[in-house]
Amino acid sequence: MFDSFPFDEWSEDIADFWTWGGANSTGTYIMTVLGIILMVGALYGFVLLEKGKLDRQAAMLRAAAGGGAASPANPTGPL
């Protein structure tokens, strides 16, 4: 059998061994907050990035059809 705890300082009572501290530690709280910030930022980014693409494409299509609310020249598009 392999002994996965060869060092005295690592007893079999060891539980959490996370980077930046164990459960309920300051490091873990900080990582959680950073993760939430990334998640919210990504959601905001999805909205913003897509809005830009759609607005540009819609404006281009309107311009191609003569501006305003005119329809595109080819309703089925190039596909």
Binding site: A15, F17, A23, N24, T32, G35, A42, A58, L61, P75
Partner: protein, 483 residues
């Protein structure tokens, strides 16, 4: 000398009863860990299937925007479920957590283990179960969120879908799971609500949420004529759609298995989510007969339509999932056949009478069948003891669950999509919808070497005609009405 060596070896080779008990306990935990891990692997196929199913059903001009919804579901639901969803499940089973992190009474301390900074949600040598159990629930969340995806295709903004899917996948469904799909849920401990494999808590709730969104999203350009009669769009690859459905069905075996609690050292070895006894074989039989009955019902009700035959199979399984831990296979076969038939008629009614453009019939297949499934338990499994309080299942208890979950699902779907609509963030501009979303989102055609044929559309009387003029007329009507 020799005898002392032999006796010392024998002493090493003969563990005590306590040591053996520890080894068996660890072995059982490792078995549990592996079991849930492999259910997660199998459940990934559900998402492969959803992507193929919806992409095949989209028109050629919208296929990649459809596929990306399914892929990015994983990107947004995973963190939101980790940071908020799992805590909701752990702590809100009694409504509001009565004893804080020591809640709920049924599983003392479970609430505290579901916070993202807790010992239950990171690497932990003493805990072989929490992380894989979390992952199984995460896959349920992806599934619930993806159910909405297909209904909205070809006109919803990707970002709007992602925001909605976070609400559905990480808040709405998991709150109803806490209430009615846990050993400590108030609907279970007080009313004996019984939905063993999540007919209502996953499928029904996702369908009701989707219905709320569809009311604000509106139909695709060209879907209805001036008299309100439904036209049909041709899927660009129905084979891909059918393969996607078959992959979803394969993944469902993992989903069903993951809904059980494995306890290999205690008779009978398996418990349902309410901690009532069942077996893996029992639920596997029900799902298999559910498909058989559902395909049969769907085939006959749709007069052999391929899409509705396979959707009938899905509806059949959902109709028997709520009682899958106790149903006899013959009962599952009969009930799922009824579910497979009903869903075809309900789908047609939603499309033609309610004039709601649900592109893949998700409200009927998942929403209707989910509610139908828990309704059937009230009739066919009435009296069966549910949960740790052994409250008998009853029609009243099932009705209580339906009445709680319908507004819990529908209202957030309606309200959040209404807010997005008011902010002009729900739907793509009509010009982009007409041209196809893929050019706007990705600036390319994803079948570059295939011949480009004119788009066709099915008229209400069943004729296939060129779509160009019809779409253009409806586009003008949209611009005039500002809808």
């Amino acid at each position: 000398m020799v005898s002392s060596i032999v006796s010392s070896l024998l002493a090493q080779a003969a563990p005590t009863i306590e040591e053996l008990a520890e080894q068996v306990k660890l072995d059982s935990l490792i078995l549990t860990e592996q079991f849930y891990f492999f259910t997660v692997v199998i459940m990934w196929l559900i998402h492969v299937g959803f992507m193929a199913y919806e992409t095949g059903y989209a028109r050629r001009k919208n296929l990649m925007s459809t596929a990306m919804k399914n892929i990015l579901t994983i990107a947004v639901v995973t963190p939101s479920f980790y940071y908020f969803g799992w805590y909701t499940y752990g702590c809100f089973q009694e409504g509001w957590p009565k004893s804080g992190h020591a809640s709920p009474d049924a599983l003392p301390g479970f609430c505290g283990l579901t916070a993202p900074w807790s010992a239950g949600l990171g690497p932990n040598l003493q805990d072989h179960v929490s992380l894989v159990f979390f992952l199984a629930f995460l896959l349920f969340s992806w599934t619930t969120a993806s159910i909405m995806s297909g209904a909205l295709i070809e006109r919803v903004r990707l970002s709007a879908y992602l925001l909605l899917t976070v609400v559905l996948g990480s808040f709405v469904w998991i709150m109803d799971a806490a209430w009615g799909w846990s050993s400590g849920g108030w609907l279970v401990t007080r009313f004996g609500f019984h939905d063993a494999i999540a007919s209502l808590v996953v499928h029904g709730v996702a369908g009701a949420f989707t219905l709320g969104v569809l009311l604000n999203l509106g139909p695709r350009i060209g879907k209805y004529d001036a008299l309100g009669r439904a036209r049909g769009f041709r899927p660009h690859n129905l084979h891909l759609t059918l393969m996607g459905l078959m992959l979803i069905f394969t993944g469902f075996y993992g989903f069903y298995a993951a809904c059980l609690v494995i306890q290999s050292t205690v008779f009978p070895g398996w418990l349902n989510i309410y901690l009532s006894p069942t077996t893996l074989g029992a639920i596997a039989m029900v799902i298999t007969f559910g498909f058989a009955g559902g395909f049969t019902g769907g085939w006959f009700a749709s007069k052999g339509d391929p899409f509705w035959t396979l959707s009938g199979g899905l509806a059949g399984v959902i109709a028997v999932s709520a009682g899958a831990d106790v149903y006899h296979p013959s009962l599952a076969y009969l009930l799922s056949a009824s579910g497979g038939m009903l869903v075809v008629w309900v789908g047609g009614w939603i499309e033609r009478t309610l004039r709601i453009d649900d592109a893949v019939g998700a409200v009927a297949v998942h929403g209707f069948s989910g509610f139908y499934g828990v309704f059937l338990v009230g009739i066919f499994a009435g009296g069966y003891p549910t949960g740790i309080n052994n409250i008998p299942s009853s029609f009243g208890g099932q009705l209580m669950g339906m009445l709680a979950f319908l507004p819990l699902a529908f209202l957030p779907g309606y309200c959040v999509s209404w807010l997005l609509k008011k902010a002009n963030l729900l739907r793509v501009p009509p010009e982009v919808e007409l041209e196809g979303l893929d050019l706007a989102e990705f600036q390319q055609d994803f079948y570059p070497e295939f011949e480009r044929a004119s788009e066709v559309i099915l008229t209400p009387d069943g004729r296939e005609v060129e779509a160009g003029q019809i779409l253009l007329d409806d586009y003008r009507a949209v611009i005039r009405s500002g809808r």
